[in-house]
Amino acid sequence: MQTTHPAPPMATTRNPRERAGRLLQQHGALIVLAVLLVVGTVAFDSFTTPANLGNIATASSFLAIIAIGMTFVIISGGIDLSVGSLFVLGGVLAAYGSRHGAAVALGLPLVVCGAFGLVQGLIIARTRMAPFIVTLAGLLAARGLMLSLTDEGATTYLVEDDLFARIGQGAILDVGYPFFIMLAILAVAAVFLQRTGFGQNVYAIGGNEDAAALMGVPVARTKVVVYLVSGLLAGLAGALNAARLSSGVTILGIGLELDVIAAVVIGGTLLTGGAGALGGTIAGALLLGVIQNLINQVGGLTSSFQQVVSGAFLAVVVVAHRILGGVRRET
């Protein structure tokens, strides 16, 4: 995961304090994740079993795949609220399409959810409307489309293609295929974000859009691609989840966009754009899964505590960003 962190987007670090601060911002989620894994191992016998860790990794991979797309969006200075709806829509379309084979099961959600992302990106880029509103409209439209395909959510399509189901259900050493698919997407996405002109443009737009435009960065095109990627990945995650569940469950994804944004921000990406990294995002997604698992391990706590803990952690991270961001601006 080290390699996925960016060269510092701003000036090079000068003093130790700032370097420590930056380290904390970029690797904070990873450090906390490591600490929690140690704590979990010491405190609970049933935590560090292959089955349990495999479950956490597999269950977190869907959130992580969507969060990879969201990281691009947030670094570019935007937000995508439609991903939860696209996730459930993707799942329903995949289950529906599975009767025509694995290719349709995968292709249909990618085409439809990609189209949603593309249209949202075009509207945001061309009209300069706020991404918050445009993707809120996308959230409502995608969920509405899903409901209309399923008789208001009453019909659940079952996955009828074994090959497609195996993509979601297969496992290597208790870790499901979706986790490895997530790692592959992470690798490709990291190369695009860190090693290509496109990635630099995403950072540049998020840092200062007007300055980027003056420097000749293709702002509109970059934005369209960013929202297209986010839509595609949300649809893909939905399809993989449908394969795992063997059905297009209609009650998924409500409020998922907020968990995704939380994972990205906990991972060290600034909500204001211009800075962030994919490694932190994955650590953030896994961290949310580990917190949920540990709270279940404690048992006596009600599970509402998971939200309290995640919320408190998010607040700490945002405050830390603020302080670190302040330090950086002074230099």
Partner: protein, 360 residues
């Protein structure tokens, strides 16, 4: 006071249920016809009929599970929804109380907070923690594949309560314990027919989509209306997702679009109470619109006493005794049917005031 009488009633009901189940296996048609016992015994769940033809049951040998002692074994319970609804509170409490009573030391409880993805990981975690028996209140009927695979690999028996899982009896799950929701819908329709004298316009506040409870409560109600009272017209149907605020919101829209509505069938009490708030807000008086609902929560039974609700069909959430008793029978080698259907009571103005202490 009520706690003590509750305990005693539970013991009595346990006995009654045991007798009924035992006799039900031999001659299930007789027990199906027998009415629910009245008085304090009705507070606990009573088996109405262990359905399914003889020989279709599931024994521990057929299932492949290993026998263990409930007291020392690990038992997992997965609750589906936030405990903001009296039904869920009573259900979880009943499981916990019964486990404590039976001396089940290692009961692990999770709550999915109405998020299906979380419920799947919750149950997977319970399996990973070594659960030897799973009691699940499923949020959704489909989508259990990852859980079923892991449970099957470890031969962990699954008892689902209050909602079903769409899967194979014995290979995937042991049994479903719950009400006959179609029958609940039919009985609600009977009350509505009585309330409206067989004539009028009725709206339905549907439950959350994607589970068998909503589908069957709707089906039973519509079938009965069509068969018994063709002059009752169902003019409005919308989902209130089993939630009070959603029931209120939908009813507010209903009053706007159909001001001449005569009756509202709410598929649970929470939505009915939301509807009452909406009717009050619109300046209606108690009894102007006849409300019939299902569940039997204290708030709804109080609503009957106050005149806002016409009748309530009970859906008993106290699954603890029956769930563990079924598990014990299974471990003892008895054959367990695909469904264990419980008897539900009915509340209307004749018994609401006296039954208030038994509502949950």
């Amino acid at each position: 006071m009520s706690l003590f009488s509750g305990r005693r009633a539970r013991a009595a009901a346990l006995l009654a249920a045991a007798v009924l189940v035992a006799s039900g296996c031999a001659k299930s048609e007789d027990t199906a016809a027998s009415p629910a016992p009245g008085g304090s015994e009705a507070q606990q769940q009573v088996v109405k009929t262990p359905s399914g033809p003889a020989g279709a049951g599931c024994t521990i040998a057929q299932h492949g599970a290993t026998k263990f002692d409930l007291k020392t074994g690990v038992v997992g319970f997965s609750q589906s929804e936030k405990e903001a609804n009296p039904f869920r509170i009573a259900e979880t409490q009943s499981i916990k109380d019964e486990a404590a009573k039976l001396g089940i030391a290692n009961l692990k409880v999770t709550n999915a907070q109405s998020q299906f993805s979380k419920q799947i990981s919750d149950v997977q975690q319970l399996i990973a923690q070594g659960a030897q028996l799973l009691v699940i209140a499923p949020l959704n009927s489909d989508g259990w594949e990852p859980v079923l695979q892991q449970a099957a690999a470890k031969k962990v028996p699954i008892i689902t309560i209050d909602r079903k899982i769409n899967a194979k009896h014995c290979t995937d799950y042991l049994t479903f314990i719950g009400s006959d929701f179609v029958e609940q819908g039919r009985r609600a329709a009977d009350q509505m027919i009585k309330a409206l004298d067989g004539k009028g316009k009725v709206a339905i506040l549907l439950g959350a989509p994607g589970n068998n409870v909503t589908t069957e409560r709707t089906q039973g109600f519509k079938e009965q209306i069509a068969a018994k009272a063709p002059d009752i017209e169902i003019t409005f149907e919308q989902t209130g997702e089993f939630a009070r605020e959603k029931g209120q919101q939908v009813t507010e829209q209903l009053i706007q679009s159909n001001p001449d509505i005569d009756g509202i069938y709410a598929e649970n009490d929470e939505m009915a109470l939301g509807a009452v708030t909406a009717l009050k807000g619109a300046g209606k008086k108690a009894g102007d619109v006849k409300i019939v609902s299902i569940d039997g929560t204290r708030g709804a039974v109080q609503g009957i006493v106050d005149g806002w609700i016409y009748g309530v069909i009970e859906s008993n959430p106290r699954f603890g005794a029956l769930a563990f008793e079924t598990a014990q029978k299974f471990l003892d080698g008895e054959s367990i049917p695909e469904k264990v259907i419980i008897a539900d009571r009915e509340y209307d103005e004749s018994n609401a005031e006296g039954s208030l202490s038994q509502a949950y």
